[in-house]
Point group: none
Chain length 365, copies 2
Amino acid sequence: MDQRVIEHADVLVDWSAQVERGDNVIVSVAEGTHDLAVAVAEKLGDRGANMITLYDSDELSSAYLSAHDGTFDHAGAHEQRLLEKADVYLRLGGGRNTAETSDIPQSVRQAYNKSRTDAREARMNTDWVSTLHPTRSLAQQAGMSYSAYKTFVYNAILRDWESLAEEMAEMKTLLDAGSEVHITTDRTDLTMSIADRTAVNSCASVAYDSHNLPSGEVFTAPYATTGTAFFDVPMTIDGTRVQDVELVFADGTVVDYSAVQGEETLSGVLETDDGARRLGELGIGMNRGIDRFTDNILFDEKMGDTVHLAVGRAYDACLPTGETGNKSAVHVDMIMDMSSNSTLSIDGEVIQRDGTFRWEDGFEA
Amino acid sequence: MDQRVIEHADVLVDWSAQVERGDNVIVSVAEGTHDLAVAVAEKLGDRGANMITLYDSDELSSAYLSAHDGTFDHAGAHEQRLLEKADVYLRLGGGRNTAETSDIPQSVRQAYNKSRTDAREARMNTDWVSTLHPTRSLAQQAGMSYSAYKTFVYNAILRDWESLAEEMAEMKTLLDAGSEVHITTDRTDLTMSIADRTAVNSCASVAYDSHNLPSGEVFTAPYATTGTAFFDVPMTIDGTRVQDVELVFADGTVVDYSAVQGEETLSGVLETDDGARRLGELGIGMNRGIDRFTDNILFDEKMGDTVHLAVGRAYDACLPTGETGNKSAVHVDMIMDMSSNSTLSIDGEVIQRDGTFRWEDGFEA
């Protein structure tokens, strides 16, 4: 087995999920991720954890949902019980065809997701970590050879996470102290409030309330958003390519939107519920191991030269105790490239210009 | 997709598991069974059932258990919750290497199984069905080409189950009314009591208390066994080949035994506990779609020209209400070929001679 797969499992189980003896662990195994699953299973056995493995297959989901009439009655009730008794949930993402679920009717998908709200919340209450095993399908999506894609993925995942956590702590300090964020690019001029919100130092460990591997972003839950945001990084939502999205905000809510490609899909997202038209997240990518866009949100949004905004659900970790943030059945991230003609400012002070943070070489105040 | 896979899913979901709208269904997907899983998922969607899929990988189990120190604390607690909330459990067996788990230490395997007793019992309380998708590994075990093996498997599974259920009902009637069974072959002369015992018409449907697909056997729980039984069909017990077993019974208990191959493994089985030396089952194979031995108990014991006896645990369904049958930690089936020089008699009347039942063409009274 590729030694990097074993190292990936080590980082996932020890640094990211902090698995301990006797923990009830769920491992969700996507198509094409068998090798990583074997390495994770061995690691969990060695740690003395309890393991159950789920099969996460887009082909099965597609077959199931396409045949369903779309009326669901608590579709995740048995899964919910499992999740409620679990300590750790490890999602090994991968797959063999990123377009596999593209022909599921939007209404069926929405009804299904809605009926699984309790199960999803139970999963969010575990120490969950979502990671990714490089598959040929993901390499194709990225427009890369399989070999080059593997190098790319492990560069992003096998980092010195403790050191990156220290650098990101600086950004968290700035966001926690700040009241207003202002972002400008060629086509973006957006202001949002972050007063009283707490940023998460997302360094790929549940110990930091960070649930992605790789991670490498600092994020918070903005509100009262005003202005225009343009997202120039292409993305895939529910199997559909969506490109060049523009959102216009007034008083925190999307009042106008467009997309050069995939506008219908975008519309479906925004019309899910009220919360889907408000921001749930502002994230600042800081993982310098990610050096190109690969049409995969798990990587793209962590890239050092990007900022992303998500419409929909906010993370509780960003909110003052007892306060509820933006609620929604969706959470869809959209990314803007900050590498040129851009500024990110907090309370009027430029923190990042043209992709360079103020503590990095070459920063121009 | 092979049309037979779709028909298999139809039989499994409708006839065997009798899935209804809103049922919470677990689908356990072994390595190599993806195609059947897709067909089952589509069927479950069409029926409006709720679905969760487990990944049943011998490679993962082996990696996990081989790395574990062997001390388990309720290893199936989260799985148990899932099972308690499930209505139906569909086990899609398959695999890519029948010897994959052979290097797990016996002590670790036993400790693991013991700690999962509650989960196992919860599974037995669902409408569970165990079936099998033809894989290359199973074809190899059977000594057959992949193509020929698929034909064999679907011949066994895609039967007119209602019609076979009617035929087997005749056998059940005979066994329920009978007091004594007498079996003779070249090297077998065995008598056992079945008075007051109830036979199970195992026609591959939970509606008949039958949980295997394929099935096609009628079985009961004999006692007071006397005489000699010779099992000429080879079998694999815990990964070891066992062949030409002879058991000598007196007053219901094995008093002498031998095997040309694997006698040590046989000895280990018989010495597990007191019940391991008494019979728990007499089964009469009646599935004429199974026309050869394939070293797989799910098929071999259902073959029309065979009778099998199991040492160990009896099934409650065969016992008078309130009565406990033979108890044991084991249940090991052994098969004898009845195709020539054999008789199966109930209370002195020959029911099957040389493999032909008395209601079949060519039967000689």
